[in-house]
Symmetry: C3
Amino acid sequence: MADANGSADHLSLVLFSGTDDKLTAASILVAGAAALGKRVDILLQYWALEVFKKDCLEKDHGLSPEAGPGGASLLWRAGERGAPHWSETLRQAKDLGEVRLHACAHSLELFGLEQSDLDPLVDDVSGVASFMADAEGQMVFV
Amino acid sequence: MADANGSADHLSLVLFSGTDDKLTAASILVAGAAALGKRVDILLQYWALEVFKKDCLEKDHGLSPEAGPGGASLLWRAGERGAPHWSETLRQAKDLGEVRLHACAHSLELFGLEQSDLDPLVDDVSGVASFMADAEGQMVFV
Amino acid sequence: MADANGSADHLSLVLFSGTDDKLTAASILVAGAAALGKRVDILLQYWALEVFKKDCLEKDHGLSPEAGPGGASLLWRAGERGAPHWSETLRQAKDLGEVRLHACAHSLELFGLEQSDLDPLVDDVSGVASFMADAEGQMVFV
């Protein structure tokens, strides 16, 4: 499936949302891509960046409004039954393949944060332009 | 526009959201792609999967919070004027072209559902990895 | 990075959401793409189209629910410190590169609007099928 310039082997994920349901969905996509040997770059923006502050990943980040109370209890019970937390799925994806997390420089400034304030899962700080310049294949916004 | 490996002819849609406005927007994109002869694969996750339970499609699934009461009455009036329901748009897209709906195995388990609990519009159950492996062209998350 | 049919040089953005945080994130992506010399086509649908009504761009369009009151004051202070409004970022991107905004014909009809009711930043009216037919590279839904 790969073409000459390797674009089929690259997934660029702009992670904007910071609710646990979307973070779980995104992490599962990333893990799937990594398992296939795809290179994955993730740009953390806005509410997704906020979630990646140190000691913050496993807190309760809420759900999309459409989840309702039924959805919340559903995800809570899944955790009780041993489903891995999305941050663990992401950690496994990083161990498995070439997955890199970049803090968006613009959002970092907006929140008054520095990279040292972020969880070690975040690899570096990146501008949107350099993230876009590197985006050779599929691009997904979550 | 197609290239040698056919990637320009394939749209992979990760359908996560279950509100009627996003489902309508997604269905119109799918219909447009099908009309162009593109192959479309849709992965139903989370709140979008929940909507595809049997006898559930045409219920009221709410709107994005930003819609407000004005938005709700707008969409309701469109239905009154004869605009097709998004599920009908999707059905037509399936008749027209190569459009397949896959229930995400992970979400199915989360909701404690089986394929027999879902609307017949859903073709089969698929894992994220196999959906990703088949995704050759554009990938969109709604 | 470009391939023979130029698909790496094209970004198709379906802009559905009408909250200021998502509009800001989308505008920054567009500006980054334009700075790289990518051609960008934006389809304005639903709540994003509503925002592009004349004399409406710079009004308060709210934020994603997950922003909370803390997020709102954060973005407000960024504006106070001189961060450009997203509509200004979009205007600069249009000056810089080949960026075109299309009002979705379907959404326009839904809202009972005509192109003359929209901000001059909007270039024309387009159907979803013709937008999809022109979409050669990455496609992103915001």
